[in-house]
């Protein structure tokens, strides 16, 4: 597959790897390739996004043109010229309900 330039949007927590850039362009044919290209350009970013086995971390959501890749083909999701990819860490938290059972 031909590598296409995709625009990647990164929110603040990931900009520490890109020198503050919110939008970067990388060439990739799939989301998996895009993640590897990002790591080559911005070393250290991949371990924030994927676990040791290469799976996208549960709290990381990757959108291709607004659709989360878990609803597409995951890391095998193919990219076309001009696709917009957004990598968004979750906003989450909570109070474990342990005390409520006591």
């Amino acid at each position: 597959m031909k590598k296409m330039p995709a625009q990647v949007y990164l929110p603040t927590p990931l900009r520490r790897y890109t020198g503050g850039e919110a939008k970067v362009i990388v060439d990739a044919a799939t989301v998996g390739e895009l993640l590897e290209s990002l790591e080559r350009k911005f070393p250290g970013i991949l371990s924030q996004l994927c676990d040791e086995s290469g799976e996208v971390r549960s709290f990381i959501n990757i959108f291709v043109n607004g659709t989360e890749i878990r609803q597409l083909q995951g890391k095998d999701t193919s990219l076309a010229d001009g696709d917009e990819v957004s990598i968004i860490p979750a906003m989450a938290g909570g109070e474990p309900p342990v005390w409520s059972r006591e």
Partner: protein, 135 residues
């Protein structure tokens, strides 16, 4: 850096927390340099009294809107419906936005909601002042 909110924004956050009660609510605060310009109500897809997870697609939509307005993400708020306004262990573990101020509204005492603000950086919690202005 203190978090600066207008009185009507504080009321909006408390109203959101009350409407979601007994479940936790969550949302974003957008603006500049710690000054909140707009409160974005999020959807807690956990629909739980003990946890929250903001709808990720909605979160992306809010981020785009915030960027288009030239603002930045100032804070992330959520409610504690049964405990004090202090980050829980899970709040700290899941604080993926160290640049943001984490705002917690407690409805433990329903008549007297409490709002407090924190930075959560590398697992360490530090409290920030909340300045409320008329308006």
């Amino acid at each position: 850096m203190a978090l600066r909110l207008r009185k009507n924004q504080v009321e909006e956050i408390i109203r959101h927390a009350r409407e979601e009660y007994p479940n936790e609510c969550c949302g974003l605060l957008a603006g500049k340099d710690g000054v909140v310009e707009e409160v974005y109500r999020g959807t807690n897809v956990d629909h739980s009294p003990f946890t929250y997870l903001m709808d990720p697609a909605e979160q992306l939509k809010f981020f785009k809107e915030i960027e288009a307005k030239g603002w930045e993400l100032v804070g992330i708020y959520h409610s504690h419906t049964h405990s004090q306004a202090y980050p829980s262990r899970t709040d700290v573990e899941k604080a993926f936005y160290p640049e943001a101020i984490y705002v917690i509204v407690s409805l433990q005492d329903q008549q007297n909601p409490v709002i407090r603000a924190f930075r959560i950086l590398d697992g360490k919690i530090s409290e920030e002042d909340v300045e409320v202005q008329e308006g």
